[in-house]
Amino acid sequence: MNTVSASIALFIKDVRSELRTRYALNALLMFVVTSVSTILFALRSEQPGAQTFAGMFWVVVFFTAMSGLSRSFVAEAERGTTLVLQLVADSSVVLAGKLLANCALTLLLTTAVTILYLIVFPNFAIISVDIFVLTLVLGSLGFASAGTLLAAIIAKANVRGTLYPVLAFPVLIPLLMTVMNATTLALDGAPLIDAVTDLQVMAGYILVMTGGSFLLFEYVWND
């Protein structure tokens, strides 16, 4: 229980810091708005199909997540606060707290992208709401579970900016393919049973990535 409350305390610290500094949030939301606007201008009056919409949706989410997820550890390294966390926190507390923060961030991002798509694209109609919501939640958790450990790895590197998407993309390919497929089903109005396999893959991905992160994080975090 102490580990849980300590992890939540770290999560709350990150949220409070972000609300006070707006360091990442404004930039990420602006990225989302810019990306969606660019797609809107490129499409003009064209109305793409479900599969294309699904791909465009998760492209925006992917690149926004690449900008935002790494901040969880890179910001600590750039500010020099890694040492105080190493002194006071157990490695599992650090990982759990940062994972919670990244889960919240990706859920916020995917929700923002969804709202924008619904507003600007009349043909972006979510017919199977149950599939879409489950895909959104599991996809967001999948991004966070894979991205958090990678963020801790690149925070120790000298060239952080370009390294994160390079490391993350191969790891995220299975998740990306699955969430795009499930989103297509949601936009096409498929029944929930048709998406069960995809949802199971996402849940399995989250379990594997989260479990692997907890096993490996100590070796990444401690010098």
């Binding site: 229980m1 105080v84 157990d90 507390v93 401690n222 010098d223």
Partner: protein, 183 residues
Amino acid sequence: MLEAPSSIAVTGRNGSGKSTFVKILAGVLGASSGSIHFLFDGVSLPNEQRRNYLGFVSPYLVLYDELSPVENLQTLSKIRSGIEAPMDEVNRVLQHVGLEDRKDDFLRTFSSGMLQRVKYALAILHRPALLILDEPTANLDDRGIAVVRQIVEEQKENGILIIATNDADEANWCEAKIELGQG
């Protein structure tokens, strides 16, 4: 082997490894050879519990400047142990380091000396059995140095104190000295 109460100063030339040594003691760096064992009441302490018995101050330790001293102490104490330090304890240590009037101001408005005092407040909040000070009076004025002297004397009475320093006066605060870089 160090047993409470005791104090030792780690001295040596620039680059001799004083800061590296105390970081290894604090558990933030791994040793390439050798091992460190902590015993509490004769029972070996697992590494993951070491942080509950250890306080650390150094000029290169950075706290969260978008938070106030109270927020830093309460948040970091809860991250350390899962339990938030009581407000009266937080007020006690902030009063001890002379920052009770600035306890709710953001750290980004503090001078380097005031930041150093907040680090001392954090280090002694949980009454650590082992207190490690790397360059203990860096950035401090005479009043700050007096505060540090008081903390040092209190730690020497009940716990273990390790100071890493080039300053002869600071080294003389301790009963024993080791010099790194000697054969």
